[in-house]
Amino acid sequence: MNSDKEMNSMSTISNRNLWSGLLFGIGFVAFIDEAVFHQLLHWHHFYDKSTTNIGLVSDGFFHAFSWFATVWALFMVADLRRRKAWQPTKWTGGGLLGAGGFQLYDGTVQHKLMGLHQIRYNVEILPYDLAWNIIGFIMVLIGIKLVVRKHSPSS
């Protein structure tokens, strides 16, 4: 009875689950970054004197995008659920991929290359950078594993 042509194919459903997860993952990790590292721990700084202009612009776009992506991803989940097409495993995989990918980008390009701000100040930064990026990398690996896993027909 599903008359919607666009949602008929399994690949479209699969892609939407992946995208929704990715967007939510990026948005969620950006939210954790803001809430935990900026506001609660006060490790990160709002602005750091060494911030480059490109760093400022990159941060602005990622922040705006993640803010929008979090909300939109959740509405996409609601849309998939009303179509009975939500695939939690694929979605979680996408989420870890998005979260890990953003964490790696933030930890390498934004923190190191663009000098936006450091993870923490007045400490030996190397262990923090390593932990930050290794956690991101592990999230990406698990994400890929979940995304490529064959979808079980029961769910």
Binding site: S3, L56, F61, W67, F75, D79
Partner: protein
């Protein structure tokens, strides 16, 4: 005394809009079913918050205190317009006026000028671009000395905020509807432009603003903008969700209603 006059002049249009809206609610509700109370509440709150930014203690403090000025900007340029858009004034106008006048206004809304002004890109440039001009040039300092410029800048901030909001979410009839994807991209870019400007203000205070005040003001702009925009994003995505409703569900609901 000049300061007092500026505040009165800027309050007048909002007071007039409030009286017109309430009159329209009373008149139209006598002939048709009552106008939703929550729409009236949105409108009154939007007007009230906008007036707070242009008159009264906050506006008086904003002349010499940058964080107070920034709070005013968030109210006049973002939260006030959003609430007023949710008041659906054009819908109310249409149900109050006779058919002939309503049709004439409808023609006006369909004009190419309105199409141009309510295009998301144009509205975003007027809105965020205007703020960049205000805070990165001498305009901010000059505005403090010139009553006329003060009035123009404040009216611009409100009108640009309203245009931007109507270009993003559709509460009132909108003859020039643009796609969700286009609006989403412009919304993210505009939000980014607002956030980048906030951090820029933090780093490079506008002329005449002490560093500590600029830092506080910049952070208020950043997080306050995020808070108001979160509501805008939720309404936007909810409208997408309603529009993307699969036909099977629409049909089953229709049969249920019959």
């Amino acid at each position: 005394m000049a300061g007092l006059n500026i505040h009165i002049i800027l309050t007048l249009p909002f007071a007039a809009l409030l009286i017109l809206y309430i009159t329209a609610v009373i008149v139209s509700s006598q002939r048709q079913k009552p106008w939703p109370l929550y729409r009236t509440a949105f409108w009154i709150l939007g007007i009230f918050l906008s007036i707070m930014a242009v008159a009264g203690p906050l506006a008086a403090k904003a002349h010499h205190d940058f964080p107070a000025h920034m709070l005013g900007h968030l109210l006049l340029g973002m939260l006030g317009p959003l609430l007023m858009v949710l008041g659906a004034p054009i819908t109310l106008l249409f149900r109050t006026l006779n058919v002939r006048t309503a049709r004439r206004i409808s023609q006006l809304l369909k004009s190419s000028l309105i199409r141009f002004l309510t295009d998301p890109t144009v509205a975003a440039i007027l809105n965020v671009g205007g703020l960049w001009v205000l805070y990165t040039t001498h305009l901010f300092m000059v505005m403090q000395q010139s009553p006329l410029l003060h009035i123009i800048v404040h009216l611009h901030v409100f009108l640009a905020g309203y245009l931007f909001t109507v270009s993003m979410i559709q509460i009132d009839p909108a003859p020039h509807r643009t796609s969700f994807a286009y609006r989403a991209i412009v919304l993210v870019v505009a939000l980014a432009g607002h956030g980048i400007l906030a951090k820029y203000i933090f780093a490079c205070p506008p002329n005449g603003v002490p560093a500590a005040k600029a830092e506080l003001g910049g952070m208020m702009m950043y997080y306050g903008g995020d808070a108001v925009d979160l509501f805008l994003i939720i309404i936007f995505c909810h409208q997408w969700y309603k529009a993307a409703k699969p036909r099977a569900i629409v049909q089953s609901q229709k049969t249920n209603e019959c």
